[in-house]
């Protein structure tokens, strides 16, 4: 236990500004009263845990300060910068490398949109793994320790046949719908996620990747009791992990099965950790919070494509600025056949499926 602390302890040795109660600036809000009161009343309770926690006071103080910070949306720019420094220090110590935590806001004139060509997708799942590499998901082997935000759904192809021409439902009542009615021609199984063929694409299958649709009217945001999840001005729905209480209401509300819950402490090997992070994006999560796709905010806020777009071998995934008529997504919306998943739910996703 004692051998491993040396680099983290030295990196995090300087006490964070807001971690020390004696340095706390006097403020008038109810939350700050709670904060100072909590410091006194809870310190004895936390003291034992802090003593047992080995990197010592620095890490304990950082966590202490993290627990008492505001909802990210209510923070002033100074508080955001403070939170950023605090996290950078802690992560750099924990992962033995220089970790940056970006707090770039939504850029003016950018509204992100995503398009996916379902005729092109070959079901190779490279996007799934790229997402894990980029976004620091948990990648353990025990149950509940592996988290993937994208899922690729395999659907078997059916067919229309001439001998079913006059068949329909219900049979024998004289009311026939006819013309292959009610035979599941496009699909003969519910979707499969666990397919393991030697090679993809298979002859009789279609593939449909799903992830967060970044809805314009997101049900998950509506139900969040602590308002930790919300839409950013440039489109993506994000989560302030520090404010999440893990109630999983959003997971129940999401019609696209796009959210994942950290049931265990995330397993993130130090050497695989991606050190370029965003506060609302891929910074390492804690146990007991919900996480989801955020279109790689740490990349897209600086103009870079999301990780899943960059690795798709067939170029089925497209990303762009919906406000820019020259962008790829705008051209797809203008020119191709586009649909949105579960459009009848009026969630208005900014993720468009298309085919040509």
């Amino acid at each position: 236990m004692t051998t491993k602390e040396n680099p983290p302890a030295s990196a995090a040795q300087e006490a964070p500004a807001s971690g020390d109660p004696s340095k706390a600036v006097l403020k008038r809000s109810r939350r700050d009263v709670l904060r100072s009161g909590g410091m006194l009343s809870m310190s004895s309770l936390m003291g034992t845990a802090a003593l047992m926690a080995q990197p010592g006071e620095a890490k304990a103080a950082v966590e202490w300060a993290e627990h008492f910070q505001k909802n990210y949306r209510l923070m002033t720019p100074e508080e955001k910068a403070e939170a950023r420094l605090r996290l950078e220090k802690r992560y750099s110590g924990e992962y033995n490398k220089k970790v940056s935590v970006d707090i770039t806001e939504a850029q003016p004139g950018v509204l992100m949109g995503y398009a996916l060509n379902i005729r092109k997708c070959i079901g190779c799942r490279r996007c799934v793994k790229a997402c894990v590499e980029e976004n620091n998901q948990s990648r353990g082997a025990r149950p509940g320790e592996r988290i993937e935000w994208i899922q690729v759904l395999r659907m078997e192809r059916g067919e229309f046949t001439a001998d079913k021409m006059n068949q329909g439902y219900p049979e024998g009542l004289g009311i026939q719908v006819g013309g292959n009615a009610y035979s599941p021609a496009g699909q003969v199984l519910e979707g499969q996620y666990q397919y393991t063929p030697e090679a993809v694409p298979e002859k009789d299958a279609n593939y449909m990747p799903i992830a967060c649709m970044q809805c314009e009217k997101p049900p998950c945001v509506k139900v969040c009791p602590v308002r930790t999840t919300y839409r950013e001005a440039d489109g993506p729905v994000v989560i302030d992990y520090n404010w999440c209480i893990g109630c999983k209401m959003c997971m129940g509300a999401c019609p696209y099965w796009a959210r994942r819950f950290n049931l265990t402490t995330p397993v993130l090997p130090k050497e695989d950790m991606n050190p370029v992070t965003h506060y609302l994006g891929n910074r390492p999560r804690m146990r007991g919070v919900v996480e989801k796709c955020h279109w790689c905010l740490q990349r897209t806020r600086h103009g870079r494509y999301p990780a899943c777009v960059e690795v798709c071998p067939v170029g089925a995934r497209k990303f762009g600025n919906l406000l820019d008529p020259e962008s790829e997504v705008s051209k797809i919306l203008a020119r191709k056949n586009v649909f949105r998943l579960k459009a009848e739910l009026n969630t208005f996703p900014k993720f468009f499926y298309f085919y040509d």
């Binding site: 666990q194 103009g303 170029g315």
Partner: protein, 275 residues
């Protein structure tokens, strides 16, 4: 909001107390495993393919301490993650109807130096003169001498046999392709050749709808464009009987099974009823 915030903070506090205690032994195990893994992978050079096997490849190296330029999939050997999307690229050069893109913003990865046979073809046999017995017409014929060199030549599946070597390759400059006027074009600009027939695909490729690009997503940003032959094998473009434009690949591993399930049989228990 405030009503929820107070219990939330208390919950978080208690959780943190437990977490900080539990977190103790976690990193120790990870640390022990890390040097072993690093020692095993250090000596061998890791090369992964980008879009399809046999086309562009990329060698893994460190661009910063602990940060590789690319991550390769341990199961399939495919490139999984780019830290530097522009590595080894050169400006794409002039393209018709793409004059608006400033020089240097559209880059491609040259493959011509990787194709070993090219230098040979230009010097050894086809040094600008037709060999003896060379067919005088464009009728596709079997080429027994080339089959040993190019396994692709045996099952040329382009245009269902209507296309043959010299429809694409320049007849005297063997390491070049040929455009509509019979002028040579670089093998790194295969889109100029492919667009001769596949004009609709060329238009979509130019507008970013077809094909793959990496780098900057804004319409004015710098991008690495993937040219036609980085994804499609021009000699076997229909992939045999499957009649598809993209060759089959080994998929990555499936997601973790739900808790309590031994295999994926549960996925097949919900067949849609047939009437």
């Amino acid at each position: 909001m405030k009503r929820f915030a107070v219990p939330a903070a208390v919950l978080a506090l208690c959780g943190a107390a437990i977490l900080s205690v539990l977190a103790q032994d976690k990193p120790a195990g990870g640390e022990a495993a890390a040097p072993a893994a690093a020692a095993a992978s250090a000596p061998a050079e890791v090369i992964c393919f980008e879009s399809r096997k046999g086309a562009t490849e990329i060698t893994q190296r460190e661009i910063k301490p602990g940060l590789p330029n690319v991550k390769c999939s341990p199961t399939t050997g495919a490139a999984l993650w780019y830290a530097d999307p522009y590595e080894g690229t050169v400006p794409m050069g002039k393209m018709p109807q793409m004059e608006a893109i400033p020089e240097g913003l559209a880059v491609v990865k040259p493959r011509s130096e990787k194709l070993n046979l090219l230098a040979q073809c230009g010097t050894a046999c086809h040094n600008g003169t037709y060999p003896v017995g060379f067919p005088k017409t464009n009728r596709p014929v079997p080429i027994p001498t080339m089959e040993a060199l190019l396994p692709d030549a045996k099952n040329l599946q382009h245009g269902r046999g209507r296309v043959w070597c010299l429809d694409c390759h320049h007849n005297t400059k063997r390491n070049m392709l040929v455009d509509h006027y019979g002028d040579p074009i670089s093998i790194d600009q295969s889109q100029l050749l492919c667009g001769k027939c596949h004009g609709d695909k060329l238009r979509d490729w130019r507008d970013g709808i077809h094909g793959k690009r990496i780098g900057d997503f804004t319409s004015t940003g710098k991008k690495r464009w993937f040219t036609c032959t980085e994804c499609h094998n021009p000699h076997n473009v229909q992939d045999g009987a499957r009649n598809k434009g993209f060759i089959q690949l080994q998929p990555e591993t499936p997601p973790q099974l739900p808790r309590g399930f031994k295999d994926a049989a549960f996925e097949k228990t919900h067949a849609i009823p047939q009437h």
